[in-house]
């Protein structure tokens, strides 16, 4: 028997596989395919302060081994979320990583405050600050594109979340230097980092000769982006190992479809892994990836999943 447990900034999870925010709704739908409590944690769709209708449609375009989405953070708002969605997850006994966002740093704080105040907060094993969303106060520039904005958000969120409950910052790969943003987040108090959010992309409808998405740009996800996710995790973990920034656990996400894909992120340094777009291909994907990852760990002859975290840094052949 392999010990699949993993520790995220003090919080022990029975296993390292999670859903990815926005790719699993808030649990009820996937629970028809497998018990969502089987997962290390369930990551909720990013919730904001007020209800949001999201963007016009078409909101998606299929791409080679991936897709573009432009949902526009549609959601019920934090109050309805805690009352209905979080309560449902809590009832079932799920471990929940709640993804939050705001149009401004202050709004992030407000969302977190209401979350923490909710009766269902007990099921929350962490808060994921989705800083890969536009900052209205800064010409709509994505928070995570700028170390200073990233720092501001993380600081507020960290202040409002009770100690002992980890705060992780979710980064975008669309930056020149992801280590700099990671550093800003960690120095501002992030207990961990989730990498990566989607890459900005466009698909042109070659019949209509115009962008396929009503919102023009969308986020690219799926196996197509996996090498970028592995690289982001690798770079940040390498910098931590070299002492260039404080050590913090990394949650890997991007293009995971199989247990081997998950293992790539793990070997690059991820202590946990999220399964996103693959769920659209296979609604059982998060559960299946967990089983496959467990088999991979066993195949490599180690007893504990934790022994494989970051192992590629040690095994790398230095030229």
């Amino acid at each position: 028997m392999v010990d699949m447990s993993t520790t995220l900034a003090g919080t022990v999870l029975p296993n390292p596989v999670m859903t990815a925010s926005g790719c699993a709704a808030n649990g009820k739908e996937l629970n028809r395919f497998f018990p969502v409590t089987d997962l290390g944690a369930f990551v909720t769709k990013t919730v904001m302060l007020d209800p949001r209708s999201g963007r016009p449609t078409p909101r998606m375009a299929e791409t080679s081994s991936g897709m573009l989405n432009s949902i526009g953070l549609q959601g019920p708002g934090i109050d309805a979320f805690v009352e209905h969605d979080l309560a449902w997850l809590a009832e079932r006994g799920a471990r929940v990583l709640v993804s939050v966002a705001g149009n401004t740093a202050e709004e992030f704080g407000e969302v977190v405050q209401r979350l923490v105040a909710s009766p269902a907060f007990s099921c929350v094993v962490g808060v994921e600050a989705n800083i890969s969303c536009p900052n209205v106060a800064n010409r709509g520039l994505v928070f995570a594109c700028d170390p200073v904005s990233s720092e501001q958000v993380v600081r507020i969120v960290r202040t409002r979340v009770p100690e002992g409950v980890p705060v992780v910052a979710k980064l975008t790969p669309d930056v020149t230097d992801i280590v700099a943003v990671a550093e800003a987040a960690v120095r501002a108090g992030a207990d961990g980092l989730t990498m990566i959010n989607t890459l900005l992309g466009i698909v042109i409808d070659t019949d209509l000769l115009r962008p396929q998405l009503a919102g023009v740009t969308g986020g690219l996800s799926g196996p197509a982006v996996r090498p970028v996710a592995v690289r982001a995790v690798w770079q940040v973990v390498a910098a931590m190992r070299e002492g260039r920034l404080p050590t913090a656990p990394v949650i890997g996400v991007g293009g995971v479809r199989t247990g081997r894909d998950a293992l790539e992120l793990v070997a690059a340094g991820a202590a946990a892994v999220q399964v996103g777009t693959a769920t659209f291909n296979d609604p059982s994907a998060p559960r299946r990836v967990l089983a496959e990852l467990e088999a991979e760990v066993a195949r490599h002859g180690v007893d504990r999943f934790a022994d494989l975290v970051g192992i590629a840094h040690d095994r790398m052949v230095r030229p």
Partner: protein, 291 residues
Amino acid sequence: MSAGVVQTPGEVVANRRVGAYHHLTVTAPGLAELAHPGQFAAFAVGGETSATLLRRCFSIHRVRPTGTYGGTLDVVVAAHGPGTQWLTGLRTHDAVDVVGPLGRPFPLPADPVPCVLVGGGYGSAPLFWLAEALRERGCPVEIVLGAASEDRLFGVVEARRSADRVHVTTDDGSAGTRGRVTAVLGEVLERTGAAVAYACGPMAMLRAVTEVASAHGAVAQVAVEESMACGVGVCMTCVMPVTGNDGVTRMVRSCVEGPVFRGDRVRWDAFADGICRVPDDAVGAPRAGGH
């Protein structure tokens, strides 16, 4: 949300060309028992090395809960892009993963009221099964089938078996009345005194059917076809503005709250130029100056 759904590694039992379409029969043990007319199934496409990650959704044409293959599912597929081309190229014994039944079925009337069923192109696929269910309840059923041309009509013979009367229209006049389904629909609703008009087909047709039905005092129940990434309710790509019982418009997921909606609840005014905008009065709509 509690409705049963299965994910099953299906196997192709038959793949027959029917006019412009392919009629696929695949094994789907467990699925048949759960399905109702108007629901759909989502097929994985392209095999293990596939670059096409998203499932393709198809109305359930028929199910056979038992038999030699222990439960099968029929769908009618128009070859279009890479996914449907792959599906229509499948051979007997090929494997294809299926998830279903998905979405809400056509609601059946409690009383044996007359019903009119309208199908555009392959949109007729789920109607014959629906017609049988309605007739079992004693509802008189007439069917209107429309398409661009004769080869794009699906199931005229099957329609005659499952309905009291069948009307055919084609845009080019190659079969039946020349014109759109609405060319005959008003007369049919009028004559039958139909209480419900069920429709499945292109959005423009559903909108027109809704208008004609409303004008004749019938309720339209339309099965929509929005672009879907997951089909199971987790991605939010398939939303459209629909007004609830409370009179409030929300962007709802057509894969779980649909694909069948009451026609008069759909905010047709939001659809234009191939885009569906968020109505200003929808819950959470962007306010002036951004969200």
